[in-house]
Symmetry: C2
Subunit: 240 residues, 2 copies
């Protein structure tokens, strides 16, 4: 019992489960009426912020690609996510005085900096902003939970498949090709994110290529059979 699949849910419920609801984009123009919103450029390899640094702004990715990584007290490190255009960064720090994770640019990036106490004050006057902020926080939770499911229950190769589909679907939302893209991160970062070792990621990618689902050459990836990939990955990542 209790094996109630999502397919058993009513149609309305399924729609509500879709992860990327159409939310109004953050309107930078409007925000600038309430606070100083500045642009920041971060070169590849540079930190946007580091754990321990004072927290004084949220960041909205305008262009580029970044990763965030968490460091435990005893030195274990794990990549907690990858961010691209439209993603809001730093929300996990709300309520604290200093950042709890590192944010590194994987390619030259352009970031909108939203000063933190002001942006919270502004949300008191702009209900739409408040909704956007709390939704972003909630989405972050859902994203993490989703990866807990992936990491916790899928074997290595399926995690890698799910990862590729996730990246592809996010690129597609931005208007890029979902079938052919360049990974901005190395094998080690993928491995850390998926709680694997880089060799295992390599093996998984090689095998996915052997069975004809993808084609890989260094960081260049082509998804040759998305339906098969999806079923292989437990259908976690949704992609048109």
């Amino acid at each position: 019992m209790q094996t109630s699949l999502a397919s058993h849910l009513p149609e309305s419920a399924r729609a509500a489960l879709m992860p990327f609801e159409a939310l109004p984009e953050l309107d930078i123009q409007q925000l600038q009426h309430h606070m100083p919103v500045t642009q920041r450029k971060v070169k590849a390899g540079q930190y946007l912020y580091r754990a321990g640094q004072p927290f004084h702004a949220l960041y909205l990715v305008h262009a580029g690609f970044l990763k965030t990584s968490e460091l435990s007290e005893d030195g274990r490190e794990q990549v907690t996510g990858f961010r691209m255009r439209g993603d809001l960064m730093g929300v996990e720090t709300i309520g604290l005085k200093a950042h709890t994770c590192d944010a590194v640019a994987l390619e030259d990036s352009v970031i909108w900096e939203l000063p933190y106490p002001p942006v919270l004050d502004a949300s008191l006057h702009i209900p739409e902003l408040q909704l956007r902020l709390s939704s972003a926080l909630a989405e972050e939770i859902r994203r993490d939970r989703s990866w807990m499911l992936t990491i916790g229950t899928l074997p290595a190769e399926q995690r890698v498949a799910a990862f590729l589909l996730d990246i592809a679907s996010r690129l597609a939302r931005l208007g890029f090709s979902a079938r052919h893209f360049i990974l901005r991160m190395g094998r080690a970062d993928i491995a850390s994110f998926l709680a694997l070792k880089h060799e295992t990621v390599t093996r998984a990618l090689s095998h996915l290529e052997d069975i004809g689902y993808i084609s890989v050459q260094r960081r260049e990836v082509k998804l040759l059979d998305i339906p098969m990939l999806r079923s292989h990955a437990g259908m976690r990542a949704m992609l048109a």
Copy 2:
């Protein structure tokens, strides 16, 4: 390089990294001036809410013990967390129309029900409530990230040790004993939460008992050597 442990951080930063900042408790009395806050009783084994059900309230645990579990489209399930007095539930649903996870009571529980659109409106008028809400969201993210680190980098036995310390520290915050408590969940739930199998949890507990760190009898747990447990667990969970 880049092995910057937290101990290298300035003192001010370390303080900000502490997970449980003193935040004002949610004042139910005050909230009732702005919206109808009702109490709900949930018996052991009953659902507080289920994935797919319409989302119309946040829930503040007043007494009892619950678990939340996520279900993927293909039927894989994972426990995403355990909730006790003072924990806010349902925040991951903000921005959606229906719940994305199940919440089940593991013992008879009493819950405050905070109707959702109203509580968001109220936070526009009560800045302190807004701060409390967004902090709760952010804390949830940090909690999940912390477990991603645990699950992603620690072997089975250390995960179990970290789990026991986490439960203990949360019980201690509520005034219960951190050294002697009754687990409210079965081995399977612990295993699911830690991304292990229930046999592995059993074996880990047995071994921790063999080496004298704890004592276990079915669901009754005594922590005999908390310092050793902590070092064993990679010092993740903090406990007095």
